[in-house]
């Protein structure tokens, strides 16, 4: 029981991170109908910028941890959002009206470009930073096994919940959110009604990238390392989360992220660590076969 509880806590933490990345996939898919293959690498960029800002702060002599984390968070979100904007501007906007496969290929190209640029500029080695937040609450002890909820896990889950709430409010109640929902339903009609579609899409990419940057920062704090290849697997898993929850649905992305995190943690806790990625892919395949719309997605009507 204690072991199960610990794995559940770990899984939910992991799931919160996947959920944050999944939001970027699900929003972009909802609004322009493409898989933003470079989104995982945007998350990797977010993690790297966090590491770099951490080192800059260290060099500047900032030692107060909450201030350092806040600065890392803001800097990483802003700069990564800029990356999200640039990726869309360079690789996707010129392809708005082209065959369906073209943006996907240019997205794969962008992913390769980002990964290898970071590898070239920052080196291929793992970038490790010392743990900033240590300790936690001991929840229970049983048969010599201690269940702990670390402060960092509380921070990650709390931050995710807060961002989700704020973001849902943006979608539901602000002009930008209304524009996004309008573009999702019908881009031509939205532009006829005076909505700047390109600008809305740019904002979507920037928000998605900022959320991915938060995930990148959290992972860097949680595991203590970042490397140039970390975006690929995390990206695929986050996409799985988005599909599991129902592409286009924000609560779905969060729910899917949590479920994927739980599946991964429990599978590696009870069965085998080597095959934990296989378990995630297997879930993806099963969901797509038996419930292609995901858990919270709307069924799609095929039109001639």
């Amino acid at each position: 029981m204690a072991y199960f509880l610990q794995q559940t806590i770990n899984g939910l933490t992991l799931g919160a991170i996947y959920g944050l990345i999944a939001i970027g996939y699900t929003m972009v898919y909802g609004i322009i109908g493409m898989i933003n293959f470079a989104h995982g690498d945007i998350y990797m960029i977010g993690a790297f910028i966090s590491v770099i800002v951490f080192l800059v702060l260290g060099a500047a002599g900032v030692t107060y941890v909450p201030a350092a984390i806040l600065v890392m968070l803001l800097a990483s979100m802003c700069l990564t959002a800029l990356y999200g904007w640039a990726v869309e501007r360079i690789a996707y906007r010129p392809l708005r009206r082209s065959p369906r496969l073209a943006p996907l290929i240019s997205a794969i190209g962008m992913s390769i470009l980002l990964q290898n640029s970071v590898q070239l500029l920052q080196g291929a080695r793992d970038k490790a930073i010392p743990p900033l937040i240590q300790g936690g609450i001991v929840l229970m002890e049983q048969d010599g096994f201690t269940v702990t909820l670390s402060w960092l896990q509380i921070l990650i889950i709390g931050m995710t919940v807060a961002l989700m709430a704020g973001f849902s409010w943006v979608i539901a109640a602000t002009p930008l959110g209304r524009a996004q929902r309008a573009c999702e339903q019908d881009r031509v009609m939205a532009s006829l009604l005076g909505i700047d579609v390109d600008r809305t899409i740019s904002w979507t990419f920037m928000i998605g990238a900022a959320l991915a940057a938060v995930a990148g920062l959290m992972v860097t704090l949680y595991w203590g390392v970042a490397d140039f290849f970390m975006g690929f697997l995390a990206g695929v898993k986050a996409f799985t989360a988005a599909v599991l929850g129902g592409v286009g649905s924000l609560p779905g992305a969060m729910l899917g992220g949590m479920l994927i995190g739980l599946i991964e943690a429990l599978y590696s806790g009870y069965f085998s660590v080597e095959y934990k990625d296989v378990s995630v892919f297997a879930v993806l395949i099963l969901v797509l076969i038996f419930r292609p719309t995901g858990l919270l997605g709307r069924p799609e009507v095929e039109k001639v």
């Binding site: 770099i52 010129p94 496969l101 240019s106 794969i108 190209g109 390769i112 500029l121 695929v236 076969i289």
Partner: protein
């Protein structure tokens, strides 16, 4: 002018924000396991200046549109017999004066990719199914030969048909549950399959050798060994024909094997395209609902394309294994799938000639530019984006049906078939 300055200024500002952390501050090892920073603000300044000036002066310069007769789409219609030209070139390549061992080796690599591209072209280009895990079938082909050779002592020629058969059945098996998914979902599921295969190969060391890989025997020429150290009970090729041993013999031999395999594969594909099943692929790609209304069974048709694509990858994998003499899961990563897909899409989906050209561009050129080894993958990614932005339909985009009804008079039908 003010507006342009402002625009260029914004572009420069964006470049500053993008390059400051990643380009200007390099994370380096500062000793005792800690990270330090090295600053390269000069690089940031150069980047920003280049973006600013580029945006300022180049934004108004539009590349002139090529006159119609120079457009690349017209390439097959210029009545240069490209297909025979390439075939003859490929046949005589090893005897050409510049053909060193390196050139023939490189040509062999390019031909493997042409073969993979042709197979994936059936799936993506003709049937319109986006497969991001094509490398799985390549791996199945390679590992079936490796395992057959290790446990049952099969030779290359005995294992070749079986490798294709295994990969093809594997395609059927995987394709059956997932082929009713829509395009993008299918892409992700196939990507998942590709990764699953790789993870399984890594984690089954007793059978597959795990990450350490597995040794594979070399092919023989009608029972004559092509190696320097001849296995017991075999005669060597050099000995039989009473000529001296020369490592070039094997390089040539491998080159002609893959060329023969490739020509057979292309012949098969070109024939299939004219059969009802091939026409059904193209019909399905163009409009699934209409094809269904006309009585085409989408599942069967898609499955056949998937299985044939997989089978060709299996043959290619079997050859790849015997050529390398050693395989490990490292050779079958997602990057490989992405490269093959890029070959198909950049070449122009459905175009056989496009696959050849794109393989030359994507596989051949990076090898030639070896001194830029560090920048190779960066250039590769940039090329994928640039070609898509410039020609979203690929280099040679012709989506004419392979066969048209003969009663309708059309100007120059069926060019390039």
């Amino acid at each position: 002018m003010i507006a342009r300055l402002k625009d260029a200024g914004l572009a420069g500002l964006a470049a500053f924000g993008l390059s400051l952390p990643m380009l200007g501050l390099e994370t380096i090892d500062a000793g005792n396991g800690k990270l330090g920073l090295a600053t390269h603000f000069d690089r940031v300044a150069i980047t920003v200046a280049m973006v600013f000036l580029g945006r300022l002066f180049l934004s108004r310069v539009r590349l002139p549109k090529l006159p119609a007769k120079f457009q690349v789409t017209r390439l097959p219609a210029v009545h240069i017999p490209w297909a025979p030209f390439f075939i003859v070139l490929a046949l005589i390549l090893p005897v050409l004066p510049f053909a060193s061992r390196y050139v023939v080796d490189l040509a062999t690599t390019v031909l493997i990719y042409v073969m993979l591209g042709s197979g994936l072209n059936v799936v993506v280009g003709l049937a319109g199914l986006l497969d991001l895990g094509y490398v799985a079938f390549y791996a199945v082909g390679a590992y079936s030969f490796a395992l057959l050779a290790k446990y049952l002592h099969f030779t290359f020629w005995e294992a070749l048909p079986l490798a294709g058969l295994f990969a093809g059945s594997f395609g059927l098996l995987l394709g059956f549950p997932v082929l009713r998914l829509r395009g993008d979902y299918l892409a992700i599921v196939t990507l998942g399959f590709g990764e699953i295969i790789r993870i399984i190969l890594i984690n089954l060391p007793p059978v597959t050798g795990g990450p350490n890989g597995i040794d594979v025997p070399r092919p023989s020429f009608f029972g004559l060994a092509m190696e320097r150290s001849v296995p017991k009970g075999m005669t060597s090729f050099a000995h039989f024909f009473n000529i001296g041993f020369d490592p070039m013999q094997r390089v040539w031999f491998l080159y002609y094997i893959v060329l023969a395999l490739l020509l057979a594969a292309i012949l098969l594909i070109q024939r299939l395209r004219r059969l009802p099943v091939g026409r059904a692929w193209e019909a399905l790609r163009e409009d699934e609902i209409a094809s269904r209304a006309l009585g085409i069974d989408p599942t069967k048709t898609k499955l056949s394309a998937f299985a044939i694509g997989a089978m060709l990858a299996g043959f290619a994998g079997c050859f790849f294994a015997t050529r390398q003499g050693f395989i490990s899961p490292e050779s079958f990563t997602f990057m490989e799938s992405a490269t093959i897909l890029a070959i198909v899409v950049l070449g122009g989906m459905g175009s056989q000639l496009g696959v050849v050209l794109a393989s030359l561009v994507l596989v051949g050129l990076p090898e030639v530019g070896r001194q830029f080894a560090e920048f190779r993958m960066i250039l590769f990614g940039m090329a994928m984006i640039a070609i898509m932005v410039w020609r979203p339909k690929g280099l040679l985009s012709h989506r004419q049906p392979t066969i048209k009804l003969s009663t309708i008079k059309l100007p120059k039908p069926g060019a390039g078939v």
